[in-house]
Structure formats: structure tokens, C-alpha cells
């Protein structure tokens, strides 16, 4: 393939990609953001990194206190 053909091929790809993108349906930002917010709210209860564990003892990564002597 010569340089001209390569350039043409490249430009064809760019146009092809843009045609594809121009054809996709879009939704208003306000609606999308509301859905993101809704997902946060619906799952807030389960978010341990925000809410913490119901009881601190449930945390499997926490060093268990108490008996340190063997």
C-alpha cells in the first residue's frame, strides 16, 4: 500500500467511526445524573465503607483485641 492509500484508509476509518457515533441515541444529562443519584441512594445501606459495620466486631480486617499472650 502506498502512502496515499494509507492516508485514505486512515481517513475512511475516522469518518466511519464518526458516522457510527453520530447515529447513537443520547439521553439528557439531567436524566442520567438523576439515575446515578438514584443508584447511590438505593444502595447506600449496603455501603460499609460509608456506613461502617453494624457492629465493629463484624469487620474481618480489624485486629481482634483481648488476649495477646500465648
Amino acid at each position: 500500500m502506498n502512502k496515499f492509500q494509507e492516508g485514505l484508509q486512515q481517513q475512511r476509518k475516522v469518518a466511519e467511526q464518526l458516522r457510527l457515533e453520530a447515529a447513537i441515541p443520547r439521553v439528557r444529562v439531567s436524566e442520567c445524573v438523576r439515575d446515578i443519584k438514584k443508584y447511590c441512594e438505593q444502595n447506600a445501606e449496603d455501603d460499609v465503607l460509608i456506613r461502617g459495620f453494624p457492629r465493629p466486631g463484624d469487620n474481618p480486617f480489624k485486629e481482634k483485641g483481648g488476649c495477646a499472650i500465648l
Binding site: 464518526l18 453520530a22 445524573v33 444502595n43 460499609v48 460509608i50 469487620n59 480486617f61 485486629e63
Partner: protein
Amino acid sequence: MATEALRIDGSQDTVDALSAEAANLKKKLEEEKAKLADMDMGEVTKKIENMTQFNMKARKVLKGHHGKVLCMDWSKDKRHIVSSSQDGKMLVWDAFTTNKEHAVTMPTTWVMACSYGPTGDVVACGGLDNKCTIYPLCMDDDPATKKRAVATHTSYLSCCTFTTSDKQILTGSGDSTCALWDVESGQLIQSFHGHAGDVMSIDLSPSETGNMFVSGGCDKVANVWDMRTGECVQMFEGHDSDINSVRFYPSGDAFATGSDDATCRLFDLRADREVNCYKKESLIFGCNSVDFSVSGRLLFGGYNDYTVNIWDVLKGHRVSILYAHENRVSCLGVSPDGTALCTGSWDYTLKIWA
């Protein structure tokens, strides 16, 4: 029909005509996107309460690497972690006890990618060897005896992730492509061409109907791909420098990026545009890795200034900062049940925050 064919084969198909068409389409796309940007994320989330103080502490320190930690991944069992390092080692940890359960020495330094298989029975890694190698995990045997090279790129492996089973693995590479491989046969199933620079990060869509993944790279662009066709279905621009990390929002409707331009951004697939940018004037160091808390409310970013910044995804503020490590935070990940955050650093350690 005849005129249509003539148009495509003839006058339309010249570099000039195609360039003009591309410019025109670009302008139209921008106008269309601007029209749909009817509201700021801040406006929609104004009335939400600010987050109250939450209490994340370093609970465990995983010590054992003799080089910069470059990548980590959680097992689905929410307990085990695989990590890879510049020293050529891949380690499998029990994060509850900090014990090392497996150690694999790679024939290369800079093991930049590692991933846990969904069943927990297998891990994959690679780096400067340009390959992705699979290691079955078995208590009786050294994993290295059963290793299998699956994927080969023409440049370094930057990231890898199993799909919904242990049977397929998706890879990203410095050769600017992504590829989907059959683990059993090592056959290439699909390759993904479109990035104009090194691919740095990939993430699979969490939505079941998805069959999609997102990739980010040194061309500052994030691409969304259809895994079945190999087609790039959406492109997202906006960053001023390399995109180091991409991660889907838990609903699958959006994804976050972390970049060398010191910002993290949220891109929405349906709006087809950026919907929020997480930055601060005082923050000038690049972000290497991002992940969400399970509800999607928090975005964790690991930065070159040794910190983890925690952003309120909805309101756009920084809600907390973890002085996490003594060198760059190179990778991070929230455990599958959302109970802990793991960070990996160039200070040779990983830490568990919960």
C-alpha cells in the same frame, strides 16, 4: 441506488471529501451533545446531604514484595488478593491474616498486570514479557509448574481481566490494542483497534446485557467497545494527559477515569459525555488508579503524591484524604462486597483500609 454507489465510489471517497465529512460530523456531534447538557451534576445533587465523617483506617499491611507494587486484584471470596511487582514476583495473599499463600517468580521484571479468575482457582499476570500467563492455584503444587502463556502482544502487557468465567481473558497493551483470548487454547477471539497510544487500563461492564468494556490510554481517550464485534461504540475525550485507570460505575451506566492531568472524571454512557470532574487546585499530581464504593457514592483515587483522595461522586467534593503510603499509590481496589479498600504502592507494600 446507482447514484448512491457512484457517490461512495467516486467523488466522496477522496481524502479531502472524507476530511470534510469528518469535520462536519464532529461539529454536529458537539452541537448535539451540548443541546443535551441541560443541567450540571451539581444542580441535581445540591439538596443531598453532605457526607458525615466516616472512619477508614489502615487495618493490615501486606509486606513481602521487594520492588514497587504495580497491580492488585481481589478474589471474589472477598478475602484473597493477588499483587504483582517490579521485582518480577506475583504474590497471593490472605488479606485477613496477611499470610502469603503463593509466590510466583516471573521471567521478567515490571509485572504490570495481574488478575484473579472469577472461580478463585486461577490467577493471570504479565508485563514487560508482552505476555499474559495463567497460573492455576493449587495448595499441593507450585503454581509455576502448571503455568500457561495465553496472550501475546507486540509490546508490554499493561492490564488484564478475566471475563465472567475463567475461560476468557481480556488484555490491554502498550501496542495500543486490547484483545480477548480463549484461555484453554490460547487463541485470539477478538482484537480491538482504535487507541492511538498505549492502552493503560480496561474494565468490564457490570451490566449483564453488557458485553462491553471500557479502555483508557496514553492517547487521553477512553473507548467503549462491543466485545462481540470488536467495534469501538463510543469515544470519550476530555483529559489533558494519559488516562491511567478506568472503572465502571456499579450500575454500568457510567465510568470513572484517573489521569496524569491530576483529575478524575465521570463519563456517562447514555449522555455520551463527561458529567463530572474531580479536581482541586492544590492537587497537581497524577492519579494512577480509581475505584468506586459499592453504592457508587465514593470514588477512591490513588495519586503520585502518596495519598488516596476520596471524592463524593454526586457532589464533586473531596470528602477525605488518606495519607496512605511512603511512595506513589500505584493501584487500588474495593473488595467485591465493598467492605475494604486495598492500596498498593511503590513503597513495596499493600495496605487494607476498612
